[in-house]
Every structure is written in structure tokens, then in C-alpha cells.
Symmetry: C2
Subunit: 214 residues, 2 copies
């Protein structure tokens, strides 16, 4: 079976899940921590080389303060959990902002934890316009030069994006690295994660014809 | 019913359709002309304000010469057909290239045909890296400034992308304008277009919750 090198994870549906349980919206985020770890373990076991999690974006910080606090805490906890695994971990996002949690500043340079190995990127206070905002320091329009001038330059091209929560949109997730990504949507909300979602996504990916436009 | 302002059209599957008919791959492209016109007429009737067709990309020109000639001719014919309608027409793509058909140079400045009205953009020899290659002439990273510095700046944000041919990827289609687009995939090949595809896509779009990340 052909497996993707790099999987992007968009863990959506936390607030809708909370409402369905009769809880207030912000209570769903911390139910996304165990799914995140499970995804990591499955991917590592299968031999995936890189995972990028969509933590939160500049757009998301428009949400009510109680939600922003909750998803920010969830992202801090998620990164802490991942730092206890064998992984090469990097947090990517706009640190020149009060919305960027200072607890995660130490992670904004890629570092090995444990035995290192699988690359894990976590997007925190990420913004597509922040990411693209430094382009063209260099006159050449070669594709490699564009990636090298992104703020997210240490994140490689994404082969497969899996989005939970049923929405069929990329919501600004790494616009350049997702140019050719195959996009698989799980209708279940992220806190209702099952390992089968990953296996189904990988089976589906195996059937896709990767042409890169050619 | 809530209708999108701007629909992106990715008309894929021409070569697979041709093979299914027992024809050689390049014979499928000109079967995509009538669908393109039908899409235009339906959208105009419904009150859609802008349509962008994915004609061909720089990546596509890696294909064998017989295919490149065929899809280039189909795009020229498509633009000519649209220029006989009431539309505000613009062709967007890298004109500094031998792959850009000189017949379409006159269309690279937006012009009204007939009574004008609905904006129609046609991407020809378009490349995502060409599009992004002039960013940051301006220091500010505001979202509006990024769009203003794109080569495709005269194409507005896309609300709904409809892709025929079953593939679930954007293949470099306007990376910035598609940041928040809802993405609807039709499994049928483009030459097997039916009006019902558009109506189904619009019904689906009506049910989506447009949050722009908030």
C-alpha cells in the first residue's frame, strides 16, 4: 500500500460535539487531546514521516474569549503530550502576538524529543497571510523559492489532509504546502475520533492517482 | 436559498472520459465546451456574480504535446464562445511564456462583452507560483494587501469550488482566493456534465455554515 509521507490533520467539530453533549461550546476542546495522541501513535506505527496538526489560527481568535482560552490551553497541553513521545517537534505560528501562548515559545525551533524520528508540526496562532507575508524577498518565482520564503518553510508539502467535523474546506491550512494535497473528510466530530477514520483515509489515499497536475 | 457570489469550476476528467469511450486521451477536451457554456448560462440565470474556470495550468503543460495542443485549443474556443455572451470576461495566466496562446492575449484585460454583467475569469497557463511570485512589494501583511499583490488580483475570493472528475484536491487553484472556499466534488467526468450537478452543489452549499474560521 502506498502511504503518504506527510499527513495534515484538521481536528474540527469540538464545539458542535460539546453542544451535542449538552455542554457549552468551549468544553469540547480538551476532549480532542487523546484523539491527537492516538493519531500520532498510529501514524508513527505505519511509518508516516511527518504530521501537521491545525491547532488554532489567527481567524479562530475572533471567537469569544472563553473559547479562545480553552483551545489555546488544549494546544499547549497537546504539545506537552507530544513532547513526551519520540518525535521531532515544531510549533509554527505568529509569535509576535499576544495570542501566541508563551508556554509554546520554546517549541518554535524544531527539536528532537526522546529518540526523535517522525516530524510533528503544530500550527498555533497560524495565519495564511502571516505565512505568505514575507514572500518575494527573492526575485525568482521558482516553486522551491516560494516555499523557502514562507514563515512555515520548515513544513514540507502535504500529501493527504484529513479533516474531521464534516466541513469540506481547507480554512487557510498551509495554502502552499496543500496545493496538491488529497483531501479526505470525516463527517464525525473530532472528539468522536476512531482509529478506523485513519485507516479509511489511508485506503482511500492508496486509490488516488497522484499526478501533480501532469 | 443562500447562493454563493463566486463559483470556481474545475472541469476535470476529460482524458479519462475519452479513454472510456475508446478514444485517445486528447479527444476529450473539446467535449468540455458545451458543459462550460451550460454552466455559464445556469449561473447567470441564478444570479451568481462571478465564475472562474480552471482552464489549464503550467503543470498541465508537462503533458504530452498532443494533449497540450488539444486543451489549449479547447480553452481558446471556450473563451471565444463566452465572448459571444453578456459577460465581463478576463483571462488570467502567465503571458510571458510560449505556452500562453497568443489568441487570448486580447482577453487579458477585463472587458465587457454584450451587456457585460456576470464576471467570468478563465485561467490559462496559470501557475500558483507565478501568481504568488510578486507578493510583498508592500511591507504590510494585511490580507487585503496580499490579494492586491497577486497576479490574479482581479479575481475575488471564491465561495464555492465545484470539481468534476472525482478527485478531491485543489491542484493549485487560486491558493489565496480559495482559503475559505467550500469544496464540492462531482464524481462524473466533466464531459458527462449535467445541470443537476450544479443544483446539487448549490443545495449542498446552502446547508454549509460559513464561519471564515471564526
Amino acid at each position: 500500500m502506498r502511504i503518504p509521507n506527510h499527513i495534515g490533520i484538521i481536528p474540527d467539530g469540538n464545539r458542535r460535539w460539546a453542544l451535542k453533549q449538552g455542554m457549552s461550546k468551549e468544553k469540547g476542546y480538551d476532549k480532542g487531546l487523546n484523539p491527537g495522541l492516538e493519531v500520532f501513535k498510529i501514524c508513527k506505527e505505519i511509518g508516516i514521516k511527518e504530521i501537521t496538526y491545525y491547532g488554532f489560527t489567527v481567524d479562530n481568535t475572533k471567537r469569544p474569549s472563553v473559547q479562545t482560552k480553552a483551545f489555546t490551553k488544549a494546544c499547549i497541553d497537546a504539545v506537552n503530550m507530544l513532547s513526551k513521545e519520540d518525535a521531532s517537534l515544531l510549533v509554527v505560528g505568529n509569535t509576535n502576538s499576544p495570542m501566541f501562548p508563551k508556554e509554546l515559545i520554546p517549541y518554535t525551533k524544531r527539536r528532537d524529543f526522546g529518540k526523535g524520528g517522525i516530524k510533528v508540526n503544530f500550527l498555533v496562532n497560524y495565519g495564511w497571510n502571516w505565512d505568505l507575508g514575507s514572500l518575494n524577498q527573492n526575485d525568482s518565482i521558482g516553486k522551491n523559492n516560494i516555499i523557502k520564503n514562507l514563515k512555515s518553510r520548515d513544513v514540507s508539502r502535504v500529501d493527504l489532509i484529513i479533516r474531521w467535523g464534516g466541513r469540506r474546506r481547507l480554512s487557510g491550512f498551509l495554502p502552499v504546502q496543500s496545493i496538491y494535497s488529497d483531501f479526505y473528510v470525516v463527517d464525525d466530530y473530532w472528539p468522536d475520533f476512531k482509529a478506523q477514520h485513519i485507516y479509511d483515509a489511508l485506503s482511500w489515499y492508496d486509490k488516488q492517482d497522484i499526478t501533480l497536475g501532469g
